[in-house]
Symmetry: C2
Subunit: 204 residues, 2 copies
DNA sequence: TGCCGATGAATGAATCGCCATTCATCAAGT
DNA sequence: ACTTGATGAATGGCGATTCATTCATCGGCA
């Protein structure tokens, strides 16, 4: 009895505290930028003492990494899952694009950390590139190659380059959305992107 | 005579020293990232004393700004000039894309500062967005609108969105090039980008 | 049940190194 | 000698990280 009690009251505390710090850090990083953010700020927003942060994370940098790992992992997992029951490669690309923008559009602070902070140093960039981006580009490329096999997509273009083009276009939509003063929905932007990507901008 | 002498020996010195600092800073920022770069490093690479940097720039931040201003100004000027004698909107887009990647491809350090460091804080980003990016997107948009008028491009799509898509795709090419270990030429990548942008990825 | 020492999570003030910026001083040119 | 650009050692502040201390909880024992 006691042991169950202690588990259900203490354990969640631990998880909550770690979560609280990550959430607070996302907000603080998004507002001030990673390098201008003080660990003390994160602690204050999270409602813990400065030192407590170091019970859960080795360093300030590890906090940024954790934000990144958690989000990328979740995004890719969801993406795979959503793709499982789709066979049409065009629809696959639509889902990937749509999910991408929905995810970023749903949490502005997280989007800022991704679009801006994560790219603020070649070091983070390289890690991002190695870990998440590469995996992500692969999802796009594979869907595209399937489409090429099926005769739906042109075969005279390199699938890797194509994947970068599509990703780049989506990425720019996200970055623009973050920087824009106007508040509009990000997710629907995946539609015109896919349209131009698939059909081109030239008049028929 | 003397005054001419003094001009030709002292003035260039001043310009050279300022230039040297900017060049050094570009290199140092590119290698270490803005926030990890010490003013002392920049001074050493430039071959001047720490204090000398402050004879030419108000602060470390102003150095980054100057790199940015100088390059964007030059890029947009060259772009306008190259566009002047072209009438075909498709060719205009080709030139814009080609110039964009040629410029970045010609100076890897500068490219890193642009693609990575400049985006490392929403503050810089917003300034970049306001100053250079907006102007740049306008060039693309205007060329596209001309093409719409001429019946070359689809009229059912928003020119602003289109401009972002094209820019985003080019931007991703540049970022990938920077992060890639493989050394390939960046400029030629504008070709497949334009191809897909104009003709789409779907099979005919 | 009620008491006691052990445990370890949490705290936040103090430390310690770092680095942008300053400025007293120097040297070259006139 | 005076002006002016240049120097680089010294300063001052900042902020990530540490660690001595507090305090709530727990398990063993009478």
């Amino acid at each position: 009895m006691r042991s169950v009690d202690s588990l259900s009251s203490a354990r969640p505390q631990v998880a909550d505290k770690r979560e609280a710090i990550l959430r607070a850090a996302t907000q603080v990083f998004a507002r001030n930028g990673y390098f201008n953010s003080k660990v003390a700020d994160i602690a204050r927003v999270a409602g813990v003492a400065d030192g407590t942060v170091y019970l859960y994370f080795k360093s300030k940098e590890e906090i940024l990494h954790s934000i990144f790992d958690k989000s990328v992992g979740a995004a890719i997992a969801e993406c795979r899952q959503q793709l499982a029951d789709v066979t049409d490669p065009r629809e696959k690309l639509r889902r990937i694009a749509s999910l991408h923008l929905e995810r970023l559009g749903a949490d502005r602070d997280l989007a800022i950390v991704f679009q801006v902070e994560l790219r603020g140093s070649t070091k983070f960039m390289e890690e991002f590139s190695a870990a998440g981006l590469a995996e992500y580009l692969r999802l796009i490329r594979e869907a595209f190659e399937e489409g090429q096999q099926a005769g739906l997509f042109r075969r005279d273009i390199n699938a890797t380059v194509v994947a970068k083009i599509l990703f780049g276009a989506l990425d720019e939509m996200a970055t623009n959305w973050i920087l824009s003063k106007r508040r509009y929905k990000l997710a629907p932007m995946s539609e015109p992107v896919l349209d131009i990507f698939l059909n081109g901008a030239s008049a028929r």
